[in-house]
């Protein structure tokens, strides 16, 4: 083990002394402190200023460190082979896979150190910005929506399949599905399911809906407030109407909970927060929210997962930042394994190109899988690639997309900026997915190729 550590420490000192890491660290050191003074956000609120600082500094750190990791990892083996330093190393009692692990460990440690420093700087500057003078409402927004860690509970969804079946039955009875072919039926059913789902979040004029939020981990005895977070929209997309609503928290039949009723008007296309006392949650951790559309003509709906949630505080900002950076680290650890695997059999520039391509694919993975879905023939339609090539292309793309992680799933920046919790579960899942599974596969492949490879492949 001591010799693996030696390689790791050597990797760190190489990165620093060869100035690759220094350049990146330099850019970060210059940029992060400057950002809070240059970014004004929307130019009005301190909230947006802090949010843009967090978004830019964390985003920039993630991007720069991704590039640094790619360069370091791709050079770690390829340059050692090119400059023949490995001739000396390989003649020492260290297995090649141990050498690869040592290099990976070194890059990961370096990343961890840089992330820790950046984290401290970001935290310090956020605290500085928080202290700047502003008007009370803005300050409340800063404290309640940015420098906070909230968990967003979604309403318990009814059995949509059952609703869908009922609706399908109804349509069939009405004879409106008679001209749908057997192959096209699944398509129609999917469309109905979407409709049913949207219906759940739609308020017809005067309609009352009751939403249940389960498993809320709040201390009922505390003075703590929960927030109902919602963004109503008008189906036509207009943004100048008001959604008049009456709401009720708590359970009137449960004497143990605090029940409160209120009403108000909310402008559409904006997020609104309604405070809820913790005592409105019952002993089982369930909160009932009853909401009525008071408008007599217009319908309103709540579109998207985050348009209707109950938010409550679950931790402190600095630990959330720490978890977010851990998530970034998991991505970097994956990239390090990728770069090492690439440089185990490719030269530095080629390995860099491969790793950067994968980085690009990983970043755009969400769009790509959507694109693949778009070109797949839906239920008997024409295959755009033809019947033979089509399945082959899609299978290959699916394999590629399985191997390449979807980095947007592991991007905590938006979450931190929104003052939401980066759950430990998320970090653990990312660690298992990116480091343990994919990192191990790449590490194994890289080590295998590195071991099989003749390091002194030159002609006499």
């Amino acid at each position: 083990m001591s010799h693996i550590w030696a390689v790791a420490r050597h990797m760190i000192s190489e990165a620093i002394r060869m100035k690759i890491a220094l350049v990146f660290i330099g850019v970060l050191v210059v940029t992060v402190p400057v950002l809070p003074f240059t970014l004004a956000g929307d130019g009005v609120t301190l909230q947006s200023r802090i949010q843009s600082f967090l978004a830019y500094s964390l985003g920039l750190t993630g991007t720069l460190l991704s590039l640094l990791t790619v360069f370091l990892a791709c050079g770690a083996l390829a340059n050692e082979i090119r400059d023949k330093y490995l001739f000396m190393v390989v003649s020492k009692p260290i297995a090649r896979w141990q050498f690869v692990i040592g290099k990976w460990l070194g890059i990961c440690l370096l990343n961890a150190m840089i992330l820790l420093c950046v984290g401290l700087a970001v935290w310090a500057f956020t605290w500085y910005l928080k202290g700047l003078p502003t008007y009370p409402e803005d300050r409340r927004a800063v404290l309640n929506e940015v420098i906070t860690v909230r968990y967003g509970a979604k309403p318990v969804e009814p059995d949509f399949a059952q609703w869908t079946d009922a609706r399908v039955r109804q349509l069939r009875e009405e004879g409106r599905l008679d001209d749908v072919t057997a192959a096209g039926f699944e398509d129609v059913r999917a469309e109905i399911a979407r409709e049913v789902r949207a219906q759940f979040r739609t308020f017809a004029p005067g309609q009352v809906r009751v939403f249940r939020f389960d498993n809320l981990l709040v201390d009922r005895t505390s003075e703590e407030m929960l927030y109902l977070h919602m963004k109503p929209i008008h189906p036509s997309g207009v943004d100048d109407v008001m959604f008049p609503a009456r709401w009720q928290f708590g359970d009137p039949e449960d004497p143990d909970t605090l029940t409160m009723v209120d009403e108000g008007e909310f402008i559409v296309q904006r997020f609104h927060s309604i405070p809820i006392p913790a005592r409105a949650v019952n002993k089982e951790g369930t909160l009932y929210v009853r909401m009525q559309n008071l408008d007599r003509q217009r319908s309103f709906l709540l579109e998207g997962a985050e348009s209707f949630e109950v938010l409550y505080n679950v931790g402190t900002f600095h630990w959330n930042l720490f978890r977010a950076l851990s998530l970034v680290w998991c991505r970097l650890a994956f990239l390090a394994a990728l770069g090492l695997a690439a440089s185990s059999f490719l030269s530095f520039p080629v390995a860099c190109m491969v790793a950067l391509m994968v980085l690009f694919l990983a970043t755009a993975s969400g769009y790509l899988s959507e694109a693949v879905e778009m070109v797949s023939p839906k239920f008997g339609g024409e295959d755009p690639y033809g019947p033979v090539l089509g399945p082959v292309v899609r299978t290959l793309t699916h394999i590629l997309l399985w191997m390449v992680p979807n980095f947007s799933r592991f991007d905590p920046v938006g979450t931190v900026v929104a003052g939401r919790v980066v759950t430990l579960m998320w970090v653990v899942q990312s660690f298992i997915s990116l480091v343990v599974i994919k990192g191990l596969i790449l590490g194994f492949l890289g080590s295998l190729m590195f071991t099989k490879r003749e390091l002194a492949q030159v002609t006499v």
């Binding site: 001591s2 010799h3 550590w5 030696a6 390689v7 050597h10 000192s13 190489e14 002394r17 060869m18 400059d83 023949k84 330093y85 001739f87 000396m88 190393v89 390989v90 003649s91 020492k92 009692p93 260290i94 297995a95 003749e454 390091l455 002194a456 492949q457 002609t459 006499v460």
Partner: protein
């Protein structure tokens, strides 16, 4: 320890074919090579450039894999990681990390051998002292001259106190003094420490001085292999070295020999080897400068001329010469001065250590004093003399004034 029966390195039908991108055969670098290196011997792998020496060594270390045949090192295949704990390797060039200093370099390799920290520190300091880089230990290796890099390369090959030392052209880039030091060191390690050494070189003088057995490669094939003595000795000749003889005495000798139906083939005055001559000259010059504490142009020219005769390590010799002229208290700025300081820093302790190491069985020699001109001072050759009844081949060479004793028939 394994003895004569079990070879330390064994190559059987070893073949390496380099192929191109399309797997077409391009170069047969090593062709059905068979050889054994026995325990406690210094084995020389000789051959011109491109004869397959380095390829063979690379296969021995697992840097290349044989196309056919096999090679074992200390009884194990070269891919065995554990066996490498007992090997010291100096590649044909010292591939050192330019961003580390000498101490860090040695420490890193020490760590790869998993040598515990206190022991590692001790060894690093001693090695730095031995190769004469103590004062340069804080300088980045990337700034080192080739000779200095070579010294560090040798030091790292020794850090694990290896049983088998594989040296690929160890003296390239070294000045004659450094070369002599390394040769003395190898002789010492072999005779006193019973190390097995594989020396790969095309510098025949190096091989001749330290090796007991050699294999000559050409075109990847072993052309000849055997003990140094058995390859070079000539049983049909006898050499007598006497005080200088005048013409009448010579006539008498000739007459005496003629009576016994023998004839004198050649008569001449023995000459010193250039190496010994050079070492003697440098030593004298250095002593003179120390006395006068100043450089003279005469000395400079003489040194430069000597240096130009030695094509290897010209740069190092130059710096060495500059160092000997250097006022110790007034180092000059600039690269030359740095190199000079390096060399002067290197020479004295290194020689002392090596002389000390070697001086056990050998006659006492003062630091800086080169071996005696006939080259018999090294313990290697002393043993050779003790162990062999017949006359030293080098003496025969001198008597008959033949620089190339391998092809004597052409000169008769």
């Amino acid at each position: 320890m394994n003895h004569n029966r079990k070879p330390v390195v064994q190559a059987v039908g070893l073949t390496k074919v380099f192929k191109d991108f399309w797997h077409r055969k391009r170069v047969v670098a090593v062709d059905r090579l068979d050889f054994d290196i026995h325990s406690r011997e210094v084995f020389g792998l000789l051959g011109p450039n491109g004869s397959g020496k380095t390829t063979t060594i690379k296969m021995m270390l697992g840097l290349l894999y044989p196309t056919r045949g096999r090679i074992s090192v200390l009884g194990r295949p070269p891919t065995d990681v554990a066996v490498k704990a007992r090997i010291g390797y100096l590649p044909e060039e010292s591939y050192l990390y330019p961003f580390l200093d000498a101490r860090e370099t040695l420490d890193y390799y020490g760590q790869l051998f998993r040598i515990p920290r206190p022991e590692r520190r001790r060894r690093v300091e001693q090695l730095l002292e031995m190769v004469g880089l103590m004062r340069e230990a804080r300088r980045r290796v990337g700034q080192y001259s080739k000779g200095m890099a070579r010294r560090i390369g040798l030091a790292q090959a020794l850090i694990n106190d290896p049983d088998l030392l594989i040296l690929d052209e160890p003296t390239t880039g070294l000045d004659p003094i450094g070369t002599r030091e390394i040769k003395d060191l190898l002789t010492y390690l072999n005779l006193q420490k019973h190390k097995t050494i594989l020396l790969c070189s095309h510098l025949l003088a190096d091989v001749e001085d330290v090796c007991q057995r050699v294999a000559v490669l050409y075109g990847g094939r072993c052309q000849v292999m055997g003990g140094m003595h058995e390859l070079l000795s000539r049983d049909d000749r006898t050499q007598i070295v006497t005080d200088r003889l005048d013409e009448p005495t010579l006539t008498q000798v000739r007459a005496l020999l003629a009576d016994n139906h023998k004839q004198v083939i050649s008569v001449g005055t023995p000459t010193a080897k250039l190496e010994a001559f050079f070492l003697q000259t440098v030593s004298t010059a250095r002593q003179a400068f120390r006395d006068t504490s100043g450089a003279t142009s005469g000395g400079r020219i003489a040194e430069f001329l000597v240096q130009s005769e030695a094509p290897q390590g010209a740069q190092v010799v130059e710096s060495l010469v500059a160092a000997s002229r250097q006022e110790p208290k007034e180092p000059e700025p600039g690269e030359g001065a740095q190199a000079a300081a390096a060399a002067s820093a290197g020479e004295q302790p290194a020689r002392q250590v090596i002389t000390h190491l070697v001086s056990g069985p050998a006659p006492e020699s003062a630091p800086g004093t080169p071996p005696s001109p006939d080259g018999t001072a090294s313990p290697q050759e002393q043993e050779r003399k003790q162990g062999e009844e017949q006359a030293d081949r080098t003496v025969i060479d001198k008597l008959v004034q033949r620089p190339d004793p391998i092809e004597p028939d052409g000169r008769e």
